[in-house]
Symmetry: C2
Subunit: 513 residues, 2 copies
């Protein structure tokens, strides 16, 4: 049995309870026992009512719920650091094939440490199969990494079975390639091939395992990668499996203009309409990116109760645009926030990501909406908790929820001056930095102390990564890189006439006339 | 006489020389004597050819030109920290009236230290008159602050004579207000009143003074605040004065949708067309913000050789939108970068501002433009140098220019891994942080060492600011705050029907259909 009191000048309990302000206790505290919050209230009352093993924080701190990164693919050493410069999503994915193979355990540790030190306590991790290694082994290494780092994880494996080079049948596309390129591509695709049976068997095994393990910090989700990448049969099987197992579903959706156009060319309507026609959408479904949503798509998402996982940095970096978050929120869609392992500063910092979201969704003109600080924080807490399957367990500081929380140094945050009228959530959203974080607790366990991750030897993890990455690049990765470079002009040629229809933006950020 | 060699694994001499890549010397060095660069080249050759008092940097560093903040209003303790939350420009300016009066010298020191520590060596400072203090005294305190901090400064006073509450004649607007509000407003406006004669006399005095002072780091510019805020006569007198004295001109321009609409309502054409009709525009003119530019406006700016000072953070924060930077660059307009004292993280960090610019101007679709890292760095160096009047003296590392430069720690920048194929300018733009800065030199003088400002006692400056800001708010500021709050509903009512015409965006970031 272990208990603690976490005290703050401000305890941010729940973000944007009414859209315009957050539930904040001044001179407050949280009391937790064995990782579960038992009480939240005025510090004096908490102190009088509860005997605790230790007291953390104090009157010079801010307590907030741990942040939830609602869309992430792991890694840590970023795609950019691996030599892939930002590009259009469709060519950038190809370039990523040439990434150096990595140790899943170590990289998961590293990405977790980086995220935890910047205030994230739960991550929606979506696993992409890497060439020629066994899925079950990779997945077990990833999960061991999250467990050792202490990160709470909503875990899914991303399934992709078709249209894997461009949004067209693989064999049809390959048939138009020169012979040597076609051969290398066939070989590469075979190596990342994953059968539907293996996918579902891994899901079922993990889902059962973690359902029965009440000590674990893992929930397991299903994940068809995207509408153009799986068959309708796969989508329907996923929906059935989700219903049968009460699991949530995570999918990528209209990330790029080209993905929307794939729908228009294939079905004569948008991918969202297609999913709706299949009966796929529902409150258990979360959709990453969702940039190219029409007004009608937004209505459908609102009606079905699906979540949108917004990735503002990634959407800009990969030339996908800006998701219509204000329109989504206006219709009551649950919008969550995530970095997609492609954050503004290439470091998975969710405080910076919240800030970017808060600045980006400020539509010109007084009577047009603008995301406020409370809403931005809600995107990364309450709203992001929903698609993880832990909507009643994380994201808010209240009795019965896990003690996943972050302490920020108020002096650092307000240095050298802060007007007494400034709301603490505004202060966090305007000026908060990862470097202001003093302590991070996950399920009652202190994992960051004095701003540094303490659960493991961080320097040793970094040393080991440096050693592994200092080794010469493997032949297979060099081949894949060459393959991607060879394919790029053909991919660009393929999309040459796509995405040219008229655009009527949700956001009027400037005007030609 | 003082000389130094500054060595780097990479010396970034000039950004985006051909639009796609930068002039970088690997294993290079800069040799400077008394603040002027005498040679740039391979380290071995520089070392063999020059005897220096000291050698800085080394093979674990990157050398780059000092950054130029092309639009800034000083302060340091931000408008937000003073209690004014971001809003539409037109109401946010009002709220700013209620800011606590401050010590111009101290605040200039603080803002300079903050900027210098994040790599800025020159700032385009635009001074707004504060209530009931003498302009000449304020200005002299500001310039003393910049001088003591060592910051190179392109200095101007912002002149505003009409339409100061809304874009309508002050007396006409006041006549529609309740009596007590009208009275307080008249009093407030009288206190910030500045006569044209005083303005030009201060300009002439300063311009002459710094022209004759070869040791100073100051150039003096003219600055009509914006087309709706000054008369045509004032604009023409400014143009004459600029021609007579060979001084540059800095102006705000179509920052908001409402400012564009003021032009359409007043003259039947845009503010840019109006300035062009007056013969005001030219290569000596730089225009801050310039968000609401039409295609025709962009052509005019290109033809006249004017500069646009782009402020991406401020434009988002104050609900003004996104300036069409790609279209401007496509037409050959000189685009510079600045923070407007309203940066993304509220800290005037130009590295972060370059990064935001680089991410924001990535238009969806493969065949649409995207600002690359080299161009983003050029916006903050070569292009930003032009409007300062020092276009041949700063922004590039080459013989004859001032030794204004920054050393970054390459290990920190590339930690824990960086693919050997990554360009150093990409590395800086994707992952560089102020915390990677080791040394900053202005005119040969080391002002930052080991990441910390050393020219003055920074802690003492901060202590003094804290003491001053801990004092109770003055009655005058409290009155001004009340006045602004009282006026806000009337201002909102005034603009109720403005800005409702159809928008055809330059950037298609999303689409409703």
């Amino acid at each position: 049995m272990s208990t603690s009191i976490i005290r703050g000048k401000y305890v941010i309990c729940e973000a944007a309870v009414d859209g315009q302000s957050s539930r904040v206790i001044t001179d407050g505290a949280v009391f937790q026992r064995d990782g579960v919050i038992e009480a939240v209230g005025a510090y004096d009352e908490i102190k009088a009512a509860h005997q605790a093993d230790e007291e953390l924080g104090g009157s010079g701190y801010v307590v907030m719920p741990g942040l939830v990164n609602a869309h992430h693919h792991g890694r840590g050493v970023s795609t950019f650091q691996n030599g892939c410069i930002d590009d259009c999503l469709e060519t950038w994915i190809l370039a990523g094939w040439g990434r150096r193979p990595y140790d899943h355990y170590l990289m998961t540790l590293f990405t977790s440490i980086q995220m935890i030190e910047s205030g994230t306590t739960t991550t929606m991790y979506n696993h992409a199969q890497t060439p020629a290694t066994g899925l079950a082994d990779d997945v077990s290494e990833v999960l061991r990494g999250f467990a050792d780092a202490g990160m709470r994880t909503a875990f899914s494996v991303y399934f992709r079975e078709r249209n894997r080079v461009v949004y067209q049948d693989d064999e049809q596309f390959i048939s138009g390639l020169p012979g040597d390129l076609a051969g290398s591509l066939r070989q590469f695709l075979a190596a990342v091939n994953l059968s539907e049976e293996e996918y579902f068997s891994v899901f079922q095994g993990l889902h059962q395992k973690y359902l029965n393990d009440s000590d674990s910090r893992v929930t397991v989700l299903l994940s068809p990668s995207n509408v153009q990448w799986v068959s309708d049969e796969f989508l329907l099987r996923t929906k059935d499996e989700a219903t049968r197992t009460d699991a949530a579903i995570h999918i990528h959706l209209v990330e790029s203009l080209y993905q929307k156009e794939y729908g228009l060319r294939t079905w004569g309507h948008t991918p969202v309409e297609h999913l709706n026609n299949l009966g796929f959408l529902g409150p258990e479904v979360s959709c990453a990116h969702s940039v190219w949503l029409t007004d009608q798509d937004i209505d459908i998402l609102a009606q079905t109760g699906a979540t949108v996982c917004h990735n503002p940095s990634s959407n800009l970096r990969l030339k996908n645009g800006i998701a219509p978050v204000n329109a989504l929120l206006g219709k009551g869609v649950n919008v969550a926030l995530g970095t997609d392992s492609t954050a503004l500063n290439d470091d998975d910092d969710m405080i910076q990501e919240m800030r970017l979201a808060a600045k980006l969704h400020r539509q010109p003109r007084m009577d047009m909406p603008a995301l406020n600080s409370h809403q931005a924080l809600r995107l990364a807490t309450t709203n992001a908790a929903r698609p993880t399957g832990l909507q009643d367990k994380i994201g808010v500081l209240e009795p019965g929820r896990f003690a996943d929380l972050v302490l920020l140094d108020l002096d650092a945050l307000t240095d050298p001056y802060s007007d007494s009228g400034i709301d603490v959530v505004d202060m966090l959203l305007y000026r908060g930095k990862a470097s202001h974080i003093d302590m991070v607790m996950i399920q009652g366990e202190v994992v960051v102390k004095n701003g540094t991750f303490i659960k493991m030897d961080k320097e040793a993890v970094l040393r080991e990564i440096k050693e592994q990455f200092a080794r010469p690049m493997e032949g297979r990765a060099i081949e894949a890189k060459k393959l991607a470079q060879g394919l790029t002009p053909f991919v660009e040629e393929f999309y040459k006439d796509w995405g040219k229809s008229e655009i009527t933006p949700h956001y009027g950020f400037n005007s030609r006339v």
